[in-house]
Amino acid sequence: MPDAPTKPAYDASFDPLQAFIDLFADVTSTADTKPDRTDLTVEERLRAHIIDGEKEGLSDCLDEAMTTYAPLEIINDHLLDGMKVVGELFGAGKMQLPFVLQSAEVMKRAVAHLEPHMERVEGQTKGKVILATVKGDVHDIGKNLVDIILTNNGYTVVNLGIKQTITQILAAQAEHNADAIGLSGLLVKSVNVMEDNLRELNEHDITVPVMLGGAALSRHYAESYLRSIYEGSCLYGKDAFEGLALMDRIVTDDLDHVHAEIEARLSKRAAADEVVAKDRAKKSASVKAATEAPARSSVATDVDVPTPPFWGSRLVEHVELDTVYPYINTVALFRGQWQFKRGAASDEEYEALVADEVTPIFERLKATCKDEQLLTPKVVYGYWPCQSDGDDLLIFDPEDHDKEIERFTFPRQAGRKRLCISDFFRSVQSGQKDVIPMHCVTMGPRVSDAARRLFEADDYTEYLYLHGMGVETAEALAELWHKRIRQELGLAGEDSPKVRELFTQHYRGSRYSFGYPACPEMSDQDTLFRLLRPERIGCTLTENWQIDPEQSTSAIVVHHPEAKYFNV
């Protein structure tokens, strides 16, 4: 309500223009004016800098704060308070990861600014933790996020990096005597490595709390089975902020509460499992009664075998990046890799976020990766004659189609349709040969190097962007080359005209990578590598059959129309 202007007389002298002007006599701003940050107290501004990820004016604000507080107080009482809000917002899906990282960068910058003013005394660190991606696994983005968040919340982090053997982890623990060890991994295989590592720690009488995380791991598996193995505390962290919460408990020796929560989850789960098991038993009894499971699935055996343009493998030394970019799955990139989650945003808000914030980043990275040749797409691919024999798939010599040179064995579904990848090919009994294409694609080693440099320079946001860009561009090249193979086989007519629908298998057949549910055996990579010789494009296998450089992927291609992803 404006300050009491004089009420006009409503008679022949009434002038609406004058009344209107009078009403604004003392009004200087409309109700809509934005609150100004300069009105905030210095404490509030410190928090706001962190929460908004605002670097502008940070130094001045810190200098002002130092006239009242000791540097350590500023960090512990105000800046970390801001980080806590950031964590809560992230947890509630109200803040996107890149903004979290911006906040972390501001935090790091603030600490760097304050550091020269701090007295070097023991106990400045809240605690020490060792982080490692386990043996054979090259995926480190999640682990590095944990590093960022813990470091910026006052912990000392010893980040060992990727492919860390238990010997290296033990050596680091001997050297640093950390309060906790964090193990991470993305591959299914890594879960088994974590199990081995826990047993090794037992062997060496180490009982410091171990935190496990990574995409391969489920909370239940970690908290039930793996936790039962380890003699110390074995805890699961779903993301960096849960890791932080765990560390806060660990250093204050307050894990009882955490264990109680875990126990509560487990007993609830056990009760639920019991119900499910009963139901399932009932159902499977009735199914068994109806039919005995057949030996082989009922997929068609008379699909025309396409003719490949050549037999054996070919090397593609150069693919234009502009040809690959349109095949990038932007949903996977923006939401999965870059963590721009929708959260509670409306369609419109999310679209605006993508248009205003994310797309410009994407366009910039596309240009940078091209200009600086960070991504150098290369492919090896080829076609081999083949036949199925039960669960086996026989691969024949490209020159002599009767000479078996390799053999894959694929698992078969125990129930359901009894599917097995081998069923999609003509059998030995049919007397006819089928064709199996394979490919291995890479984005080259430079992108990993560049990403590592960004990480080491504390440029976390750019690191996240570039790393994700590399991963999804490699996937895009795999998608593009799978399409090319369909074209060469004359099967591309069933492709969806919309590129984004190719990501959901809107085409004929399927592409399977080892380690995924239908063909989980990673050691089959050895066979594929003998056939394709991806060394020619700079790809080698790690001891756990991961491809190095990381931004590479391989697959076998199945042309059978009924072939789609399935679980065994």
Binding site: P16, L23, A31, R314, D322, T323, Y325, Q487, G490
Partner: protein
């Protein structure tokens, strides 16, 4: 009278030939003896080896093509100039067309007439990027088109288009050449084929939606895609055209995406796959012209022609795009859901001190930032650009500003000037569909007509102010005059100049009500009433106003309220668009109730009837005051 080619299009699917370039380069020709030393100039073959071109035409006609494209892809003067052949532009175009004509006639039967389509490529320079001027390119295309027309072509295709501005220039050039020859686009149709790169847009960045919206008002017979990708990649754009383009659609892809395999460029699609995917376009999307671009051979065309003969084209159900203007990149609909079309007013030398200063300092980057700010921070849909400033070369300034904004800001432009030369300078640099601001009858029909012709030539919308030549009244102050001048303008723009009703924006003129002078008291209510009447009689026409004039001279905070309240009244009356400082418009919910009521009393001149007002505010219309009793 429709041409035989147009009649054929109405009856069946037309199969074009395959690749000319790839076919030439597959033959082992010598640069010196065959190409006369002009490497990469297929037109140079016409000089000594016309037999090669003739043979390629025969091969495709033999394979069953209904039409062949002439060897004139780069026959424009400015392209031939790179080989010092510019003086032979007309001659080579004519000769190439005659060769194709002879080949086509040799294969024609009464059942299956064969056609010759004059090909005009994009050239080697991009207009939008300032690598060539409109005038040079217009002249260059026109000369080649004259040769093609003289050589006896049945149609002309502007193909492999990468830049909307180049297309607009090319269409105007062909129209000029047709006019010179006494022909029309009805008897010698113009076809347009754009190239959508794998990035999902034309090279300069325009989407297919922008291309269709910017080209729909030109007299072209078909729109489609060629080159850059294979059929699959074209799928979603063809599907869009199938639903939204109301004329023929053409699709002329490459034989897939090429890749460098074992050191050689290869196109992956064989004739069978190619034909199969092309026929799907006929069956699914009802395309009317099919053919092959890079990597397609006579065998591709043979299977395609055979397939087309046995394929029933889909019947299309077309819902034309909503009337729109476009940036270089995207269309923006004239009618906005739940809002009005917001035209940002700040790039105006007579309305913004900041813009004027930036212009004086020639701080072009600063101008781009100001423009961007309006779009990103303030929510403007369209940007008004006015560089009128005494003492400067306004046409040059307009060209400078527009050529930057069209590249760096994703918003359509409203080219605003009182001078025809300044308006045209802007239009010559804008690839998208602009809106011209403005025409009126102040200087009679002649200047009005000139500006209407600009709108037609450059494919723009047009703002028309309700001002006429009446020396006393001039600007329409009453609802009656606003309506009558609007009706005169709409009638003339449509019937004399062939503009679309939906491309006309009537500006019923906002005059100040803040002066306290009796003649101005009724300005706002006459405006609201005039708007209501025009909107009722011409619902397809757009209505626009320059809002802030109403509160001229008041303090800024009062202006925000008065402008916002008036705008709300106007949009309720049928106003569809406003030129505003978008950041200074408030939604009603954020305006203090007392302020809102006081503003309404001012808008509707609620003075006592005895002093000429519309009557004192009723009790409900009176703002509540913090204290006090009736005086």
């Amino acid at each position: 009278m429709d041409s035989p080619f147009r009649q054929a299009l109405a009856e069946r699917v037309i199969v074009l030939d395959g690749a000319m370039g790839t076919s030439i380069y597959e033959r082992d020709l010598d640069v010196e003896t065959d190409f006369c030393g002009c490497e990469n100039c297929p037109e140079a073959l016409l000089l000594r080896r016309p037999d090669v071109i003739e043979q390629i035409h025969h091969d495709f006609l033999e394979a069953g093509a209904d039409a062949v494209e002439t060897d004139t892809f780069g026959a424009m003067k400015h392209v031939l100039a790179e080989f010092d052949l510019q003086d032979r532009c007309f001659e080579l175009s004519k000769q190439a067309t005659e060769i194709a004509r002879a080949a086509a006639d040799a294969h024609s039967t009464s059942d299956k007439p064969r056609f010759v389509i004059g090909s005009l490529g994009p050239g080697t320079k991009l207009l939008t990027l300032g690598q060539q001027t409109w005038d040079v390119m217009l002249d260059s295309y026109a000369e080649a088109a004259r040769g093609i027309i003289a050589g006896g072509a049945d149609a002309i295709v502007l193909e492999t288009c990468q830049d909307l501005l180049q297309i607009k220039c090319g269409i105007n050039a062909v129209l000029k050449a047709l006019d010179d020859a006494g022909r029309t686009p009805e008897d010698l149709p113009i076809l347009v084929s754009v190239t959508i790169e794998q990035t999902g847009s034309m090279l300069v960045g325009s989407s297919i939606e922008a291309a269709a919206a910017a080209l729909r008002d030109y007299p072209i017979t078909s729109l489609g895609l060629n080159c850059a990708t294979g059929p699959t990649e074209m799928g979603e754009y063809i599907h869009f055209l199938s639903r939204r383009w109301d004329r023929t659609i053409s699709v002329v892809p490459n034989a897939g995406l090429p890749a460098l395999v074992e050191g050689r460029t290869e196109y992956p699609l064989g004739p069978r796959d190619f034909a199969e995917q092309m026929l799907a376009f006929v069956q699914r999307d009802g395309v009317g012209i099919v053919g092959g671009c890079c990597g397609t051979t006579p065998e591709h065309i043979r299977l395609l022609a055979q397939g087309v003969a046995d394929t029933t084209p889909a019947t299309r159900k077309v819902t034309p795009q909503a009337p729109s203007c476009t940036s270089t990149y995207q269309p923006v609909e004239y009618r906005q859901d739940q809002s009005f079309l917001i035209v940002g007013e700040r790039c105006n030398a007579s309305g913004s001190r900041k813009f004027k200063r930036l212009l004086e300092e020639e701080d072009w980057d600063g101008i781009v930032s100001l423009a961007r700010e309006q779009v990103r921070a303030e929510g403007a849909h369209v940007l008004d650009v006015n560089v009128d400033y005494a003492g400067r070369d306004n046409a040059k300034d307009m060209a400078e500003v527009v050529s930057r904004l069209v590249r760096q800001v994703d918003a359509p432009l409203m080219i605003d000037s009182t001078q025809i030369a300044t308006i045209e300078a802007g239009l010559k640099h804008a690839p998208g569909k602009c809106i011209i601001n403005s025409a009126n009858f102040e200087d009679g029909d002649e200047k009005f007509d000139q500006i209407c012709r600009l709108a037609k030539t450059y494919g723009a919308g047009l703002v028309i102010g309700t001002i006429d030549e009446d020396p006393e009244a001039a600007m329409a102050r009453t609802a009656d005059r606003k309506l009558s001048i609007a009706e005169r303008a709409i009638e003339r723009a449509i019937n004399v100049h062939g503009l679309n009703e939906h491309d006309i924006f009537i500006d019923p003129l906002v005059l100040p009500i803040s002066t306290g002078m009796d003649q101005d008291r009724r300005s706002a209510l006459e405006l609201v009433e005039g708007t209501r009447r025009i909107a009722e009689k011409h619902p397809a026409v757009q209505l626009i106003c320059g809002l802030s004039n109403v509160s001229f001279g008041l303090k800024p905070v009062a202006r925000v309220v008065l402008n916002s309240v008036l705008l709300d009244e106007l949009t309720n009356a049928g106003m569809t668009s406003a030129i505003v400082h978008a950041g200074k418009i408030l939604p009603l919910a954020r305006i203090d109730e007392a302020q809102r009521l006081a503003a309404l009393n001012l808008v509707y001149d609620r003075r006592d009837a005895s002093v000429g007002g519309t009557g004192l505010p009723t009790h409900d219309q009176r703002p509540a005051y913090a204290e006090g009793v009736d005086a």
